[in-house]
């Protein structure tokens, strides 16, 4: 090959990228991954040095997970998803897979942080959270399910109930088998959003939202009025310690309070990258669920809001892709993935700012966590796959 052929192929590749892939979305995702790595290193270095003798312990593991995730993402972009979904009985297979993986924790589970949520992956040596697989598969399953039902059916109570019923089964299993309430709630919310988007109805959903808010308000009122009510129940204790973090001796309240201190300490412009004081011993799990608090402390409110804008931009880019999607299944997949990202971002930041009780949701691409990064990148790959299909379609016109 001479220089010209090299140049030609490079030009071809660039042209291909520009025409086939949404570089805006790709850039935002790559930025978030890079920023996430930086923050994981900053937040975890002390803990890693203390517990493992190597400050880059978590950082290295996260790099491996991110690289693996990016490879999977690119594979996903070029996968013939549509063809796979046309296979016979594919809906049932996907659904049973989504539910089936949950049960893997029973024989292969590893207990960590007091819950059995991880399974050991043979040969690779990493740990995997089946809940992440369930979330992805449930999005695909629901998109296919709703797509097969048609507009009228999903708008009807019957169609809605069927979708939500199947989702509830998955959620309940997630909660009971892996003791993972946050994943169960996320799956439920994703399904709710997907049904909402697919149906032509508003009233039903507004009613459900109103009911949900009323139930939450009632629960809070009950816990706050009755001190002893929280005793004995792990979930209710969390609500109680959220309402009165100063009085609580529970770890989650301590975590939340220290997160608030970190935000206060950071102020508008932050202490500077790497200068967090709270991440040193005081703030538990600074690189996991509480990484946003470290970001606030080191980069200030300005840095935190900038990060939120990046997330909003990412979801906006996905919305634009959805607009160009004529295929109903593809549209619903994008909707589900958008919902997934939006819900995780909102829940995580809400917990750190003390707006809701501690649920234990990670911040997409930023928090430390291999399986989360891997499956979120596969989801991004799916969105880019759909975008590619859209572009091909518009070119073909």
């Amino acid at each position: 090959m001479d220089v010209r052929t090299w140049k030609d192929s490079a030009d071809n590749f660039r042209e291909y990228l520009e025409t086939d892939i949404d570089l805006n979305l790709l850039f935002i995702v790559l930025f978030l991954i890079g920023f996430g790595l930086l923050m994981v290193y900053s937040a975890s270095s002390y803990v890693a040095l203390r517990d493992f003798g190597k400050s880059s312990y978590f950082f290295r593991k996260q790099i491996i997970a991110d690289v693996l995730g990016l490879v999977c993402m690119f594979i996903t972009i070029f996968m013939p998803v549509k063809k796979i979904m046309d296979l016979p009985h594919i809906k049932k297979i996907v659904y049973f897979l989504a539910i089936g993986v949950i049960f893997l924790v029973i024989p292969f589970g590893i207990e960590s942080h007091g819950a059995r949520r991880w399974i050991q992956v043979p040969f690779i040596g990493g740990n995997l959270q089946p809940a992440e697989i369930t979330k992805l598969l449930m999005i695909i399953f629901l998109a296919a399910m709703i797509n097969s039902m048609g507009n009228k059916a999903i708008t009807s109570w019957k169609g809605f109930s069927l979708c939500m019923g199947l989702t509830c089964l998955a959620s309940i299993l997630l909660y009971t088998v892996t003791d993972n309430l946050s994943s169960a709630l996320i799956v439920f919310c994703i399904a709710f959003v997907m049904c909402f988007v697919a149906s032509a109805d508003f009233k039903k959903y507004l009613l459900f939202i109103a009911l949900g808010l009323a139930a939450a308000g009632g629960l809070i009122a009950y816990v706050s009025s009755n001190d002893s009510a929280a005793e004995g129940s792990f979930r209710l204790t969390r609500i109680s310690s959220w309402l009165h973090p100063e009085n609580s001796t529970e770890t989650s309240a301590h975590q939340m309070l220290q997160g608030l201190y970190a935000i206060g300490n950071g102020g508008w412009f932050g202490r500077g990258l790497g200068q967090s004081v709270q991440k040193i011993t005081v703030l538990p799990e600074p690189h996991n669920d509480m990484i946003f608090a470290v970001i606030c402390e080191e980069l200030g409110i300005i840095g935190a809001i900038s990060l939120m804008i990046m997330f909003a931009l990412m979801i906006y880019r996905m919305l634009l892709i959805a607009r160009n999607t004529k295929d109903r299944f593809n549209f619903l997949v994008v909707s589900g993935i958008m919902a997934h990202f939006a819900i995780q971002v909102v829940l995580n930041i809400a917990v750190v700012t003390g707006s809701i009780p501690n649920t234990g949701v990670s911040l997409p691409f930023i928090s430390y966590g291999g399986s989360s990064a891997l499956f979120l990148l596969i989801e991004v790959g799916l969105v880019l796959n759909i975008d590619r299909a859209n572009r091909a379609e518009s070119r073909g016109k």
Binding site: L260, M308, A342, S355
Partner: protein, 760 residues
């Protein structure tokens, strides 16, 4: 606004396709997300605006960087050869942070930490600690054990490094004062309060406090203008090391012999130590550098509150005197363990004060005959006598209305006495006559010149003031002049006496006595050098030469049979010196201070030595022989150690003695053995003494066996008692006469003199 728009669209959905509707509904999701993100941003802003400062403060207070003191290291004290006499060792306080141990409800830190503590520190009661930690969850600073050495904590440090669940234990650094010599050297070292950096007491530790102490460092955090935590370390400045002129080997020899003396004569006549006070100073005669300074009993500066050394000492009690001051009065009673058990802590402290004092510089006493060279030197130097005078001693002299005896009063006096004899035989009558020609004015002038009544300025804390304990020209009467001439009726300290004596011997140069030769910083760089300082010329070189001659005659055979210091001569050496036998107040009680002050070698003086035995534990205390023998035993070891060769021939007996005691015989390297054997036989000093004593007391010529050898030994006193009722020394036949009471109660005494009290 947005919601209304959506409603409008949904109302007229007929105009929308299903795809458009889906998109609008999805857009609503983004809208809701944006609304929520805006709400969360507002919440962030509110947290910072409403609580930012509070939270910053909480975060800062969580960090304990603001008050970590880095302790300085107190400087070492070393001897002239670099042997460490006092040093500071880093020790560790075990601090427990209960809040860290209790971080998690599942006790994941607590139990591993407690187990490790239990394994490494058997002295810690783990159950008590568990109770403390669980009951005081917020406690961050609890000292569990103090002053552990690195060896004691290293095992735990290893475990802590290998197990991340061992938490909440830190080690705080501190320094502990170590005195590797134990009881030795306490005389001049002093101690440090609490064995730490709380300041020195007595001796070098107190005198050089400012040199030995450094400055604490500090690691502190502060908020700068941006409220950022800044951490700054100001390192500690360590104290300086002082290099003393003391030679630990010489010091050890001196202390050994003082201790042997005490062991030998403890409970000999009365209950208690071998003497009320024992002291010895060895000094470089040509520089004023102290080579050894010891008193007895000593104490361990590392354990200075220990009451064991008090046993056998005289009991001191605090008495309020007429002036309203508290006086510490020495009683005749000696301390026993039973007494200590019954003493109050105040009483124990009073007695410990006395123990901690350096008797060589703070104890004042009447020096007795060791002051005679001062009187003679003064008379020669001012021309009052020429040195060729001859005096007659009839055993006593009438001064004003008082009859002052010589120690030879009972045997009819010394007879014809030259100036040399007056020193060598220690004749009081001749000295009184010399003092009369000197006059009160000159006497007082020369006393000041010899620094009597003044402080020597030695670099040790606690030197006694003696200003009121001497006469001045206007207060000194003829009787005072007479008694002062032989060292009674004024008080001095040991350091005053030996410093003055050194100047008499070394050519008249009065050196300021000192213990420190130079000071180095913690890196070993010399900060200050302390050169020997000549304060004044006391006598002329020619007078000094005569004094060397007289003092030599006191010890060596040229002084004749009656010389008082013959027992002080170490075998193989020629030395000079002067004995002292001083009565204490009240007189007539037989309470005597015996002493020997000398220099060696006689022809080339290098060191001065002064041995004082205050009220020895004998029935009859006035036997100066014991001070001489103590001096001899010390010099016998010190001189060879200092590389001073023997110059005098050794008898077979002396060689045998040296071999038995495994003492060095440096004569062999300088002189042939043949020469020695020629001298032996005629040189036996004991034989000569025995014969001469008999001649003196009985007037008869010698028989083969001296008569006193047949006298029975009195078991109570250890003396032979003759038919005339007189006591004779059991070994030498020396007459231990009753008439040693030269002064009786009628002779006026300086009101300020009182050997038994001291005012704090």
């Amino acid at each position: 606004m947005a919601l209304k728009q959506k409603k409008k669209k949904s109302n007229s959905r007929g105009t929308f396709t299903a795809r458009q509707l889906r998109f609008y509904k999805l857009s609503m999701l983004l809208l809701v997300l944006l609304v929520i993100l805006v709400f969360l941003s507002i919440r962030l802003v509110k947290i910072v605006r409403d609580h930012g400062e509070d939270y910053q403060r909480i975060v800062l207070s969580n960090q304990r960087y603001d008050s970590i003191i880095i302790p300085f290291r107190r400087g070492d004290i070393v001897d002239s050869k670099g042997t460490i006499l006092a040093t500071s060792e880093k020790v560790y306080n075990l601090v427990v942070d209960a809040s860290v141990m209790m971080t998690y409800d599942d006790n994941r830190y607590l139990e591993p930490t407690l187990t490790a503590l239990g394994q490494c520190f058997p002295q810690i009661n783990i159950n008590e600690l568990r109770a403390y930690v669980t009951n005081n969850e917020s406690s961050q600073y609890h000292i569990l054990a103090k002053r552990l050495t690195y060896g004691e904590i290293s095992e735990f440090l290893n475990m802590q490094e290998n197990n991340s669940y061992i938490r909440g234990v830190t080690f705080e650094e501190e320094y502990k004062r170590i005195y590797p010599m134990g009881n030795s050297c306490s005389t001049f070292l002093g101690y440090t309060i609490g064995n730490g950096n709380s300041g020195g007491k007595y001796g070098l530790e107190e005198y050089y406090e400012g040199i030995l102490t450094g400055t604490d460092g500090r690691e502190y955090g502060f908020q700068n203008e941006d409220a950022t935590l800044e951490r700054t370390i100001k390192p500690a400045v360590d104290g300086y090391t002082i290099h003393t002129t003391i030679d630990a080997t010489i010091q050890g020899i001196v202390e050994k012999h003082l201790s042997i003396f005490n062991e030998t004569y403890r409970n000999n006549y009365r209950q208690g130590n071998g003497a009320e006070n024992l002291g010895c100073i060895i000094m470089d005669i040509n520089s004023g550098e102290i080579l050894a300074m010891a008193d007895f009993p000593t104490y361990n500066p590392g354990d200075y509150m220990n009451t064991d050394p008090l046993i056998g000492c005289n009991y001191y009690e605090a008495v309020e005197n007429a002036g309203g001051y508290i006086e510490y009065r020495k009683s005749a009673e000696t301390i026993t363990q039973e007494m200590i058990d019954q003493m109050s802590s105040d009483q124990i402290n009073v007695n410990l004060y006395n123990l901690w004092k350096n008797q060589c510089i703070s104890y004042t006493y009447e020096p007795g005959s060791t002051a005679k060279p001062f009187t003679v030197g003064a008379a020669l130097d001012c021309g009052a006598i020429t040195g060729n005078e001859v005096y007659t001693c009839n055993g006593a002299l009438q001064v004003s209305n008082y009859f002052i005896k010589c120690h030879t009063y009972d045997s009819g006096g010394d007879g014809v006495v030259t100036v040399q004899d007056s020193i060598a035989w220690s004749c009081n009558v001749a000295l009184m006559k010399i003092a009369q020609s000197l006059g009160t004015e000159n006497m007082c002038k020369y006393q000041r010149l010899f620094n009597l009544g003044l402080k020597t300025g030695i670099d040790l804390a606690g030197e006694a003031r003696t200003e009121t304990l001497v006469y001045n020209a206007s207060t000194m009467g003829p009787v005072d002049l007479a008694t002062n001439s032989f060292g009674q009726n004024f008080n001095a300290t040991m350091i005053q006496m030996i410093s003055g004596f050194s100047s008499l011997i070394n050519g008249g140069y009065y050196y300021e006595p000192h213990l420190v030769s130079y000071i180095t910083d913690s890196n070993g760089a010399v900060i200050q050098t302390i050169e020997p300082r000549v304060l004044k010329q006391t006598v002329s070189e020619s007078v000094s030469e005569r004094m060397r001659q007289y003092c030599r005659a006191t010890v060596m055979e040229e002084g004749g049979s009656r010389r008082s210091g013959r027992n002080a001569r170490p075998y193989g050496y020629a030395i000079g010196g002067k004995t002292g036998t001083a009565q204490t107040i009240p007189r007539e009680t037989g309470q005597i201070v015996i002493s020997f002050m000398g220099y060696a070698p006689a022809d080339d003086p290098q060191i001065a030595i002064y041995v004082v035995i205050d009220r020895p534990n004998f029935a009859k205390q006035d036997n100066v022989k014991y001070a001489c023998l103590l001096c001899r035993d010390i010099l016998q070891e010190v001189l060879p150690y200092m590389g001073i060769y023997m110059t005098e021939p050794l008898t077979d007996e002396e060689i045998k003695y040296l071999e038995e005691k495994q003492l060095e015989n440096t004569l062999r390297y300088t002189q042939g053995s043949e020469e020695q054997s020629v001298e032996t036989g005629t040189e036996d000093p004991y034989e000569e003494i025995e014969l001469s004593e008999i001649t003196d007391s009985t007037g008869e010529t010698a028989s083969v066996y001296p008569r006193w050898m047949s006298y029975p030994i009195d078991e109570k006193t250890g003396y032979r008692v003759g038919p005339d009722g007189k006591y004779y020394d059991a070994d030498t036949g020396e007459l231990a006469t009753e008439s040693m009471s030269i002064l009786d109660d009628t002779i006026p005494v300086n009101d300020n003199l009182d050997g038994n009290t001291q005012t704090e």
